[in-house]
C-alpha cells in the first residue's frame, strides 16, 4: 500500500468511526467499538471494523480471536492466542484456554444451516441430525416471538451448538464442569451462541424447546444491554419468555414463580436476588437454582406490572448506554426496593390475586381447558416403583398380557402418576385391549404432571378419534419433553420387545426422528 493510500485508509477509518457513534478515532476506542460490536453479536459490523484496522496490536488480535469464538471458530481463536505476547494477559490466557477446550469439543462437528430462517446448527454427534428440523423450527419461532416482546432484533444467523454431554457443554462454554453438574445445567447462552445439551444426554429427555427459547432470550438481552444486564434481569426475563413463543400447554402455570418464591421466603430458603453470584448455574444446589429462578421471575413479573413495557425498554437502553459507568448496578437500590416490595405484595395478596392484577408484556394467551396448577407429586410414587420393577422387565421382553395384569394391580396405588398410567395403557394396547388402554391412560385431569409417554399415547388416541388438532398439540408437547423416546418420536406408536413400530409417521422429519428413536430404544 502506498503512503497516500495508507493515509487515505486511516482517514476513512477515522471518519467512519466518528460517523458510527460516540467513539473517538483513537486505536483504543476503535478496539472498544469492535469489542462492543462483538458483544452485541453484530459480527458483520465487527468484521468490517477489523478489516479496516491495519494493526496487529495485542488488543486487536485479541478482538479477532474473540470474534472467532463468537463465530464458533474456536480452533482459529486458539491458534491466534497461542503466542507469547498474551502470556501476561489474564483475560487472554482465559480466552485461550476456553478456545482450546472449545476447539476439542467442536472441531469436525456436523453443521447444518437453515439459511432461509437464519439458523446455524452445529452438532457434536451427527446422530442428532434427525432433530435438526425441529430445532430450526423452535429457534426461529422463539427468536421472532421473543424479539417482538423485547423489541430486539437478533442478527442472523442465530448460532446453536448442540453438544453431547455436560463435559462438552463445559468445554465449549467455559462453565466449570462441577458447577454444571451441581445445578444440572442444560444450556448456556455465551459467546454469542446458544450452547445446549442434546435431549439424548439426559436419558428421559428434558423440556428442550423451552430451554432453547430461554437461552435465545439471554442472547437478546445481552445484545440489547450490551451485556450489561444484571443477572436477576437476565434470568427473570428469560424465564418469563421461555414459554411465550408457543401456544399454552397443559400444566403451564403462570403463577409458579410467585408460589415458589413465596414458599421460599416464608420457609427461610429464599436465595435473594443480591446473592445470585456470577451465574445461577454456579449456585450450590439445584434446589437453590430453582428457588432463584422463581424469585427473579417473580420479581421481573412484578417489575413489568409496575413499570410496564416502556419502562422495561428504557431500562435496557439505560443499561446499554451507561453500562460501563455503572449502569449494571445503577438500579441496585431501586432493584432491592422493588424486590422487597414485589415479594411483600405477593405475600400479602396471594399469588393468584397478584397475577390477576398484573399486566402482561406482549399478547395475552388463551388457557386451554383442563390446564391445572402444578400439584404435589403422588406420595404413592415409591410404592408404584416397587410394583412396576419386574413389570417393566416383562414389558421389555414383550410379555404384554402378564404386564398389563400387573399394571392393573399397581394402578390404583398411583392413579395420578402419568408414567404408570402410560405403562399400563401401553401394555393393555399391546395385549389387544384398546378399551382397557384408554381407561388406563385416563384424561388430563387424572394426572399431576406432564409426561412424554402419556402425552404421546394420548395424542395418538386423539388423532385416531378424529380430534387432529388436540392430538397434534399433545404430540408436539411430548416431542418437546423427550424427542428421543420412541413413543414421542413415532407419534404414540411403540414396540414392546424390540423392532420398529408398524406405523411410521408420514411427515419425513417425524419419520426420520422416529427411526432414530427406535434405534436408540433398541440399544
Amino acid at each position: 500500500m502506498s503512503p497516500f493510500k495508507r493515509w487515505f485508509a486511516a482517514a476513512t477509518l477515522l471518519v467512519a468511526a466518528v460517523v458510527a457513534g460516540p467513539t473517538s478515532a483513537s486505536p483504543r476506542s476503535l478496539t472498544r467499538t469492535v469489542a462492543d460490536a462483538i458483544t452485541e453479536m453484530d459480527v458483520e459490523r465487527a468484521r468490517r471494523w477489523l478489516d479496516r484496522i491495519d494493526a496487529n496490536s495485542p488488543a486487536v488480535v485479541f478482538e479477532r480471536a474473540r470474534l472467532a469464538v463468537y463465530l464458533g471458530e474456536c480452533e482459529l481463536a486458539a491458534t491466534m492466542l497461542n503466542v507469547p505476547q498474551f502470556l501476561d494477559s489474564k483475560e487472554a490466557v482465559q480466552l485461550a484456554a476456553l478456545a482450546q477446550s472449545c476447539a476439542r469439543a467442536t472441531v469436525a462437528g456436523f453443521v447444518v444451516e437453515d439459511k432461509e430462517r437464519g439458523i446455524w446448527l452445529r452438532m457434536q454427534d451427527d446422530s442428532d441430525r434427525a432433530l435438526a428440523p425441529f430445532i430450526f423450527d423452535v429457534a426461529a419461532r422463539a427468536r421472532d416471538a421473543v424479539g417482538r416482546d423485547l423489541g430486539v432484533d437478533l442478527p442472523k444467523p442465530l448460532r446453536i451448538d448442540l453438544v453431547r454431554d455436560l463435559f462438552s457443554l463445559s468445554a465449549v462454554s467455559g462453565l466449570p464442569l462441577t458447577a454444571a453438574e451441581t445445578t444440572g445445567t442444560l444450556a448456556v447462552a455465551r459467546w454469542g451462541r446458544v450452547i445446549i445439551l442434546t435431549p439424548r444426554a439426559t436419558g428421559l429427555g428434558y423440556p428442550w424447546q423451552d430451554t432453547l427459547a430461554h437461552e435465545i432470550t439471554h442472547l437478546m438481552l445481552t445484545r440489547a444491554s450490551r451485556d450489561q444486564a444484571p443477572l436477576w434481569l437476565q434470568e427473570g426475563i428469560a424465564k418469563r419468555e421461555e414459554t411465550r413463543w408457543r401456544a399454552e400447554r397443559a400444566f403451564d402455570d403462570p403463577n409458579w414463580a410467585d408460589v415458589i418464591a413465596r414458599t421460599a421466603l416464608v420457609s427461610g430458603r429464599s436465595v435473594g436476588i443480591d446473592k445470585l453470584g456470577p451465574s445461577l448455574a454456579m449456585l450450590p444446589t439445584a434446589e437453590a437454582a430453582s428457588t432463584a429462578y422463581a424469585e427473579v421471575t417473580s420479581f421481573m413479573d412484578f417489575f413489568l406490572r409496575e413499570a410496564g413495557e416502556p419502562g422495561f425498554r428504557m431500562l435496557l437502553a439505560d443499561l446499554r448506554g451507561y453500562g460501563a459507568e455503572g449502569g449494571a448496578d445503577g438500579g441496585a437500590s431501586q432493584r432491592d426496593g422493588l424486590f422487597t416490595f414485589g415479594v411483600e405484595a405477593a405475600l400479602g395478596s396471594g399469588p393468584s390475586e397478584a397475577a390477576a392484577r398484573g399486566r402482561s408484556l406482549g399478547t395475552e394467551r388463551e388457557r386451554e381447558p383442563g390446564t391445572r396448577a402444578s400439584a404435589r407429586r403422588s406420595k404413592t410414587h415409591a410404592s408404584s416403583c416397587v410394583a412396576s420393577g419386574s413389570v417393566d422387565l416383562l414389558s421389555r421382553r414383550g410379555h404384554a398380557k402378564p404386564a398389563s395384569i400387573e399394571y392393573d394391580l399397581a394402578l390404583p396405588q398411583a392413579k395420578e402418576e402419568p408414567a404408570v398410567r402410560w405403562r399400563a395403557a401401553r401394555a393393555s394396547l399391546a395385549a389387544g385391549d384398546r378399551a382397557a388402554s384408554e381407561r388406563n391412560l385416563g384424561v388430563l385431569a387424572d394426572i399431576n404432571h406432564p409426561h412424554y409417554g402419556w402425552l404421546a399415547l394420548t395424542g395418538r388416541f386423539q388423532r385416531e378419534l378424529g380430534r387432529g388438532a388436540e392430538g397434534d398439540a399433545d404430540l408436539l408437547h411430548a416431542l418437546g419433553l423427550n424427542p428421543y423416546s420412541e413413543d414421542a418420536a413415532c407419534e404414540g406408536h411403540f414396540t414392546l420387545g424390540g423392532g420398529q413400530p408398524d406405523t411410521l409417521p408420514k411427515d419425513p422429519a417425524w419419520r426420520a426422528l422416529c427411526e432414530e428413536a427406535s434405534i436408540a430404544a433398541q440399544d
Binding site: 476439542r104 455436560l166 436419558g203
Partner: protein, 726 residues
C-alpha cells in the same frame, strides 16, 4: 602385531599404503602395533627415515569378515494367536552369533508402546544360547493392550567397537480381545439368564382356568423342569468365564444364591410367583450394578485407546514417518469402534458412554476425511478426556436433576431399585466379615491364655530331663544313614526316619512337646517301614541299628506323651476361668453364624449351598469348641476354633459390588497340592513401608509354616520355620 627388531633406534611402522601405525616397545625387548581392520588390507612393516619410508618386501594380506548380527530363531514364529484363548505362551528360542553374545531380551510391542525384558546377560564369549520363557496372558502389559502385540526375542552381540548389533526373531502376534469384550460377554450371559427368569414369571402370571388334578400335576411337573433349567442357566452365567474374565466372588455368591432360591419348591402358585419375582428383581439389580461398574472400567480403558489415536495423529503431523503413524492411528480407531460397540452393551451407563464414544469416533473420522489431522487429533483428545471421566452425560446433585427452564419436565419415571435383595446380601456378607474378624480375635485370646498359662509353669526340671532324653535319642539315630537313594529304598526310608528322629530330639530340647510327639510318631512309622524293607533287602542297613533306634524312640515317645498330657492339663487348669469366658463368647459367635445361615437360607438374599454348608458347619464346630473351652480343654477347643475359622473364611466372599479390576481370571482358581488340598496363594503382601503390617505378615507366614500339621511341609522346613521363630 608383535615383532623383534633386528636393529634398534629405527622408527618402525605398520602401513597399508594409506595409513601408518607406529610400533612401540613392549618393554620386553620387542615391539607392538595395533591395527584396526575395517576392510580388506595388505599390510607391510616399514622403517621411516624422515621423508623416506623403506618397506619390507613381504606383505601380509588380511581379509576382513564383517561381524554379523545375532541370529534368533523363535520356535513356531511367525504365528498369530488370540490372547483370550491362551493359557500360557511358551517361547523357546535359539540364539547364535559369529563372535559372541552379550544379552538376550524378550520384547513386547503394541502400537507405540514397547516393553523390553532382559532374559539373560552373557559373558560375550558364548556363541550360542538356547532358552525358554513362559508368558502369562495375565501379564500386566498384555492386559493393558488393545492393539495386536508383537512378541519377539532379541539378542545383542559383543561388538564393542561399533554399535551393538541386535538380532531379532520373527514375531508371535497376540490379538487382544476388543476393549470391554469380556465384560460385554459376561453382561449378555447374565442378562440372558435374567430374561429366562422373566419369561418364567410371565408364564406364571398368565391366567389359567380351572385345572383337573391331572392338569395340576402336569403343570407342577412342567414348573419343576423349568425351575431346574432356569436355575442352571443362572448358575452357569454366574460361574462361567468370559474370555478369561469371571464374576467377582461376591456377585457369584449372590447369583448362585438366587439360583438356589429358584430351585426351592413353593407351597402355592402365589408363593411361587412371589419367589420368582423376587429373584428376578434381585438378579436385575445385581446385573445393573455389574453393568455400571464395568461400564466405568471399560470407558477408562477406551479413553487410553482414544489417547493412542491422538498421539499417533500428532506424530503423523509432526514427524516424517507419517505412513507408519497413520497405520497406528487406523489400528487405534478400529479398536475404538469395537470397544464402543462393547461398551454400549453395559447397561444404561454403558449405553450412554458407548453412544458418546461412537458419535465422537465419527467426529474424529470426519476430521480425518476432511484432511485435517489436527482436527482429528483434537477430537480424539476430547474423547479421551471424556471417557476417563466415566460419568453419565448428564447428572445433577439435585433431586432428579435441575432443569433450567420448562418447569415440570418429562420426569416422573419410577426410579431406584425395586428390590433390596442386594442390600441384604451385602449386609449378610458384612456380618460374615465381622464374624471372621471377631472369631479370629477370639482365637488369639485363647492362644494367649494358653501360652501365658504354659509360661507360668516351672519348666527348669523338665527342660533338663528333656535335654538328656534328646541326647540319648540322637545317639541311637546317629547310626542310621544320613542320606539315601530313592525315598522308597531301605536307605531312603531309614534316612527319613533319622530326619524325623532328630527333629523330635530338637523339639524335646526346646520343650515343644506337641511337635516333638508328632515327629516321634512319624519316625516310628518310618522305622517300621524301614525294618520291613531291610528284611526284604538285607545288607543295606543294619537291622540291629533300626531295632536300637526303635526301642529308644518308643521310650522317649512314651515319656514325651505323658509329659505333654501333664503339661496340657496344668495349663488348662490355670487358664480354666479365662477359657470358660472364651467358651461363652464362642457360643455367642456360633449363634450369630447360625443366624446368618438362617437368613441366607430363607430370605430373599439367598446364599449358595456351598456357603450355607460352610456356615452351618462353622456354627456346629464353634459350638463344639465352646463346649471344649468351657470344660477347660483349651488345646482341643483351640483346634476346633481354627477349623471353624477356616470354614468362616471360606464363606466370606465379599460384597456384591466389590471391585474386580484384577478380574478373577479363569486360571485364578485356588491352587491345589498333590493331595488335592487347597492352598491359598493370594495372601496380601504388605508394602515394605508399612512396618506394622509387614511384621504381622511375617509372623503369620512363620506361624503358618510352623503350625502346619498336615504332611504338606517336610520336617526340615518345619524345623527351619521353628528356628526362625525362636
Amino acid at each position: 602385531m608383535r615383532g623383534v627388531p633386528e636393529r634398534f633406534g629405527r622408527t618402525l611402522l605398520l602401513t597399508d599404503g594409506k595409513r601408518e601405525v607406529p610400533f612401540t616397545s613392549d618393554a620386553a625387548g620387542g615391539v607392538v602395533a595395533r591395527w584396526n581392520l575395517d576392510s580388506d588390507a595388505e599390510l607391510r612393516v616399514g622403517a621411516r627415515f624422515g621423508e623416506v619410508l623403506v618397506l619390507e618386501a613381504e606383505s601380509i594380506p588380511l581379509r576382513a569378515l564383517s561381524d554379523l548380527a545375532p541370529k534368533v530363531v523363535l520356535e513356531g514364529a511367525p504365528k498369530t494367536l488370540e490372547l483370550a484363548k491362551l493359557e500360557q505362551l511358551e517361547l523357546r528360542y535359539d540364539v547364535s552369533d559369529d563372535h559372541g553374545l552379550r544379552q538376550v531380551d524378550l520384547v513386547l510391542r503394541s502400537g507405540g508402546r514397547e516393553d523390553r525384558r532382559v532374559l539373560g546377560k552373557l559373558d560375550g564369549e558364548s556363541r550360542t544360547e538356547r532358552g525358554a520363557h513362559a508368558l502369562d496372558p495375565r501379564d500386566p502389559f498384555l492386559r493393558r493392550m488393545f492393539l495386536p502385540v508383537s512378541v519377539t526375542i532379541e539378542a545383542r552381540d559383543n561388538d564393542v567397537a561399533g554399535a551393538n548389533k541386535w538380532g531379532k526373531s520373527e514375531p508371535v502376534t497376540l490379538l487382544p480381545p476388543a476393549v470391554g469384550e469380556p465384560e460385554a460377554l459376561r453382561y449378555k450371559a447374565i442378562a440372558a439368564a435374567r430374561d429366562q427368569v422373566t419369561d418364567w414369571l410371565a408364564a406364571l402370571l398368565e391366567p389359567v382356568g380351572e385345572l383337573t388334578p391331572e392338569q395340576r400335576a402336569e403343570r407342577r411337573r412342567t414348573e419343576d423342569e423349568r425351575a431346574t433349567k432356569v436355575s442352571a442357566a443362572l448358575r452357569d452365567a454366574a460361574t462361567n468365564a468370559y474370555a478369561g474374565l469371571r464374576v467377582n466372588a461376591g456377585a457369584e455368591a449372590f447369583l448362585v444364591g438366587q439360583s438356589r432360591a429358584l430351585e426351592r419348591r413353593s407351597p402355592t402358585a402365589a408363593a411361587m410367583q412371589r419367589k420368582v419375582e423376587e429373584a428376578l428383581l434381585a438378579v436385575d439389580a445385581a446385573l445393573r450394578a455389574l453393568g455400571q461398574r464395568d461400564a466405568q472400567t471399560v470407558a477408562k480403558r477406551l479413553g487410553d485407546v482414544a489417547e493412542e489415536a491422538a498421539e499417533a495423529l500428532k506424530e503423523a503431523r509432526e514427524t516424517e514417518a507419517q505412513r507408519q503413524r497413520l497405520h497406528r492411528y487406523q489400528a487405534a480407531m478400529t479398536a475404538l469402534q469395537r470397544g464402543a460397540e462393547q461398551l454400549i452393551v453395559l447397561d444404561a451407563l454403558g449405553q450412554d458412554l458407548g453412544s458418546v464414544a461412537a458419535g465422537e469416533t465419527r467426529r474424529i473420522r470426519r476430521g480425518e476425511q476432511a484432511g485435517s489431522l489436527l482436527e482429528a487429533e483434537l477430537a480424539a483428545r476430547h474423547l479421551a478426556a471424556r471417557l476417563r471421566r466415566p460419568m453419565p452425560s448428564f447428572s445433577s446433585t439435585g433431586k432428579g436433576g435441575g432443569v433450567e427452564s420448562g418447569h415440570g419436565g418429562g420426569g416422573g419415571e419410577p426410579q431406584g431399585d425395586a428390590t433390596k435383595a442386594h442390600d441384604r446380601f451385602n449386609q449378610l456378607q458384612e456380618e460374615i466379615e465381622r464374624l471372621v474378624e471377631e472369631h479370629r480375635s477370639g482365637i488369639d485370646q485363647v492362644e494367649r491364655a494358653l501360652s501365658e498359662a504354659e509360661d507360668q509353669a516351672d519348666l527348669e526340671g523338665l527342660r533338663k530331663e528333656a535335654a538328656e532324653r534328646a541326647a540319648k535319642l540322637r545317639d541311637k539315630f546317629e547310626e542310621l544313614p544320613s542320606s539315601g537313594g530313592s525315598p522308597d529304598s531301605v536307605r531312603g526310608t531309614s534316612s527319613l526316619a533319622r530326619e524325623h528322629g532328630n527333629a523330635m530330639a530338637q523339639r524335646l530340647e526346646r520343650l515343644m512337646l506337641e511337635d516333638g510327639v508328632e515327629s516321634g510318631r512319624s519316625a516310628r512309622s518310618l522305622l517300621e517301614d524301614a525294618k520291613k524293607k531291610a528284611q526284604q533287602n538285607p545288607g543295606y542297613v543294619s537291622e540291629s541299628d533300626l531295632d536300637d533306634a526303635a526301642r529308644e524312640l518308643a521310650e522317649q515317645l512314651a515319656w514325651a506323651e505323658q509329659a505333654l498330657e501333664r503339661q496340657r492339663q496344668k495349663a488348662s487348669d490355670r487358664a480354666r476361668d479365662a477359657l470358660s469366658e472364651m467358651g461363652r463368647k464362642e457360643q455367642e459367635l456360633a449363634r450369630r453364624a447360625g443366624n446368618v445361615a438362617g437368613q441366607g437360607a430363607h430370605g430373599d438374599a439367598s446364599l449358595p449351598d456351598q456357603l450355607l454348608d460352610g456356615l452351618e458347619q462353622a456354627e456346629s464346630v464353634m459350638r463344639e469348641a465352646s463346649r471344649e473351652l468351657e470344660a477347660g480343654r483349651g488345646k482341643r477347643g483351640l483346634e476346633l476354633q481354627r477349623e471353624a475359622q477356616r470354614l468362616l473364611e471360606q464363606s466370606d466372599t465379599g460384597r456384591l459390588d466389590q471391585e474386580d479390576d484384577s478380574g478373577r481370571r479363569d486360571s485364578e482358581r485356588p491352587s491345589k497340592n498333590q493331595d488335592g488340598k487347597e492352598m491359598s496363594t493370594d495372601a496380601d503382601v504388605p508394602r515394605p513401608d508399612d512396618r506394622k503390617a509387614a511384621e504381622e505378615f511375617r509372623r503369620r507366614v512363620l506361624e503358618g509354616l510352623s503350625r502346619d500339621k498336615g504332611q504338606r511341609l517336610s520336617p526340615a522346613v518345619q524345623r527351619y520355620a521353628e528356628g526362625l521363630l525362636q
